[in-house]
Symmetry: C2
Subunit: 362 residues, 2 copies
């Protein structure tokens, strides 16, 4: 079944609505919807503003009122068929009398999907896949999480040019420049969870809050997750009331990610030390690596990356570089270089975990 | 004293002549010269083609013949006042009846300089300093060498993202991508000397020849210098007849550079292992650092940089980044990143050596 130029144009508009800046982050995908009258003119627009608020289709239907009858709904994600905090969009579209639905990305969520089928059964014309790649790009992490059943993991580390994270006496403030530290806070804010090990909490006592350029904490903070068997001393900064904190009493990365996924977490920013990173890396649970290289030589001191048990060059972990960004230093600070990379196959890497049945759109 | 628009235009042309591509590299500076008639029209042009061939002024005078009388010589470097393989340009300009000389860079060579003074004494109008910065840029390494009395040292090393140059079993072929290795050959060709230690010759047995993209050796090869007290086994590849080789029987970087400078060497490409690099680094004898970062993790194995005796982060060697270049990999190879840097003050760094009286323009 084909689509009209008006529908394609409406889909581009719906994609822009989905990507509206400032929409609160949460476990739900970003979705936009445009309702078109039979003559191709726009009846109403809508988009989703985060968990608990109406889905894009319902938002648009509410604005359209009776004018939705006979309209075509152009929506960036297949309408859901699931009752979470809100009812199924498929039923809302049927109740409003929509006669045709054009969607982009098929719902990857095993629980919520099936809206297209439901609508077709009820006699509505349904076309899927229009600009689907662009729609997936809007919800890259959500798509990853619902299809693989675990959060996407970004491992961040800072290193000197010679692979050190601290000097021989343990001093490490600061290997990274101020520009690199600010950039790290920007990346933290794009995730919903920061994860460290109990050892990092013990030794470094980080606050793990996300701060803006003025060093003020943001209003919305990611979850602080600490993993490991050791008890946390009650005076640790990660236990203050500036953000929510969860202690995951496991050393197994799969278990930790499953626990976070059960809490609707989709994007983990792994900031622990080399040992924690090694556990995720060797388990094949690192999806992205962000490295800040400081143009500094120490010659000795703590290694930025732990012994991975790699004996020969052929077993090295190769990373695909997707971005290189130069972060100029000001006030005489070092220029740092940020590399963003994707791991290739890792020795000992396990297969993908089974998708979880946890509902993703609530 | 001021210069005319015709003289400024002629100087820009002389700078272009000085930088003529394909001129053989050698110990001499690149120089261009334009002779202007009193009405500002060009009488003749010349440039220097390498040691043993006429200097730029003499080249231009020969082309001008009798028309040089009363002309203005616009030249990118102060005319020399020294008899090497060719006679002093100051005398040649006087003999030709040139009435005015405009030069850019003052001759930094303690032996050859004084041409401007000699010409003034003989009644010629002399103006120096026009576009001097651009002229220095044409001969950056030469200017460094003649003013500091030693060759400029570029230290190159390749490293994994975690600071390793080889895996735990010693295997290191290849940490760098093919693109990075080709780029290294390009940089080698810009130097006049490659320097390694006897240990590298013993262990790695490198040919130390410069090869082109087809892996063929170039016609003109830099000097191969090996430093250290140990004798070289006669079957070592560095001793073959594909290029000249010198064995510097010293462990002292100052001594090694003095010996190379005495051989008219101006740009050393330091490719030895971490121990040799440390000796130069701690002696303050590294002027440029070129690092190829391979997006690869080993977790263990030989460190790319030796223990520098740095105990605390405040003593780290900071490098100023002047360039970051991404070298994309093809055929599934890693993308490498090249950082070009200048060392800041180094702990234990010694003061600059005394300029040597060795003649530089021969």
């Amino acid at each position: 079944m084909t689509t009209s130029e008006a529908e394609r144009s409406a889909m581009r508009r719906a994609l822009a609505l989905a990507a509206t800046p400032g929409v609160p982050l949460g476990p739900n995908p970003r979705v936009g919807c445009v309702l078109l009258a039979p003559d191709g003119t726009t009846v109403a627009e809508g988009f989703h503003r985060g968990a608990g608020s109406p889905h894009a289709e319902v938002d648009a239907l509410a604005r359209a009122g009776a004018a939705a009858r006979g309209a075509t709904a152009v929506v960036t994600l297949e309408p859901c068929n699931h009752t979470g905090r809100t009812g199924p969009c498929s039923e809302a579209l049927l109740a409003a009398g929509v006669s045709r639905v054009v969607f982009a990305q098929a719902d990857a969520n095993p629980v919520a999907r099936g809206g297209g089928h439901r609508l077709r059964q009820a006699g509505v014309e349904v076309v899927g896949g229009l600009l689907a790649d662009q729609a997936r790009a809007v919800n890259e992490v959500w798509t990853f999480a619902v299809t693989s059943g675990r959060p996407f993991v970004t491992w961040k580390f800072a290193t000197t040019l010679d692979g050190r994270s601290a000097a021989a006496d343990g001093t490490s403030r600061w290997v990274s420049s101020r520009a690199a530290r600010l950039d790290t806070h920007r990346l933290r804010a794009l995730c919903d969870t920061m994860l460290v090990g109990t050892n990092t909490v013990e030794v470094d006592d980080p606050a793990l809050t996300v701060r803006d350029e003025a060093d003020e904490p943001l209003d919305v903070q990611p979850l602080r997750a600490v993993m490991g068997l050791r008890d946390l001393a009650p005076d640790r900064r990660v236990l203050d009331d500036r953000a929510e904190t969860v202690h995951l009493r496991t050393r197994d990365p799969h278990e930790a990610l499953a626990a976070l996924f059960a809490r609707d977490r989709q994007h983990v920013f792994l900031e622990g030390g080399p040992t924690l990173a090694r556990a995720f890396l060797t388990a094949g649970l690192v999806d992205e690596v962000v490295t800040y290289v400081a143009p500094m030589l120490l010659g000795a001191g703590a290694s930025a990356v732990a012994d991975l048990g790699i004996g020969t060059i052929a077993d090295a972990v190769h990373l695909d570089v997707s971005d290189v960004t130069v972060l100029p230093g000001d006030d005489g600070e070092d220029t740092n270089v940020r590399l963003t990379m994707t791991p290739g196959p890792t020795p000992g890497r396990t297969s993908s975990p089974t998708p979880s049945p946890t509902p993703r759109r609530t």
